[in-house]
Subunit: 197 residues, 2 copies
Amino acid sequence: MTTPPARRGRPGYDLESLLQVAVKLFNERGYDGTSMEDLSRKLGITKSAIYHHVPSKEELLRLSVDRALDGLFEVAASTEQLDGRAIDRLEHLVRGSVLVLADRLPFVTLLLRVRGNTKVERSALARRREFDRFVTDLVKQAEAEGDVRPDIEPAVAARLLFGTVNSLIEWYRPRRGSSGAELADAVCKMAFDGLRA
Amino acid sequence: MTTPPARRGRPGYDLESLLQVAVKLFNERGYDGTSMEDLSRKLGITKSAIYHHVPSKEELLRLSVDRALDGLFEVAASTEQLDGRAIDRLEHLVRGSVLVLADRLPFVTLLLRVRGNTKVERSALARRREFDRFVTDLVKQAEAEGDVRPDIEPAVAARLLFGTVNSLIEWYRPRRGSSGAELADAVCKMAFDGLRA
């Protein structure tokens, strides 16, 4: 076996570390307000060094929002694999979504701020709507099975549920060693069983 | 009794209607991204006609966020007047806050997007923190009285509650004749008693 040659000179960026910096900058200044020039200054590398990794700013946006959306759709897929009652699948979905949010916080934050000015943004919004329909259908099923209170419209219940989940980006900041599991517990307790003792 | 003379020429703006247009524009383009020039173009009046009503763009921001904050603090004040258990006062506070949000949607939306770059913004953030402390104290009291589940930290419960309330700005659009009371009901049902049947 051979070992790869040691890297020379100052540490470079790979696509992953470049993406981490880009998503942070997009969240601070807005995607529209961030230029490749800003990004190259922040990274301390030339624009052509960035273009070595990625063809455009919009591609950085696509990779960033897909990081969030792929996480959410993996949870949706694992939810569909489950047997049993819809309410339990719904809880699995909410819990998993909080874990994705906690694990990929800057990517989910960016996704939730996307407003649809570019093709990538419109496509992200379309995937969000698809996810929302999945949630609403699950609430409807759970209500049909008698496990969700019938006095809240399923579409409203779905929005309140994910409104609560999404609002976490406003204040949740991960601590070292925390997986977001406690947070997911708290959200599920409040949303499904209520704060009342 | 005398009647005021009829207004001449094209309809003008009073401070209130000017504010309605300004807050809409701030929400669309961001406060920083909106100039008095933009506002005068949108209104179809000169900048000096705007300055007749209000001395600066920052004053428009102050009036707008105060419209939201004053509503929330009126609800807090009426909550403090109530006797009885803290959980009931907390529910009164949540319900009243949803009604303020539904009634003053563009103003609350602007308030929740304020990030603190100017004196007015910093002062708005300070009042928001004061409101948050009020909520957290009420959750603590309710927990001490045994009415809130003890397995969620009061500060987390307070944030989840108002995360749910604040998330309404993302999707709620008032309909004619709707007071937001149904929405307030749905929020209180989910947050205090849970979605589970």
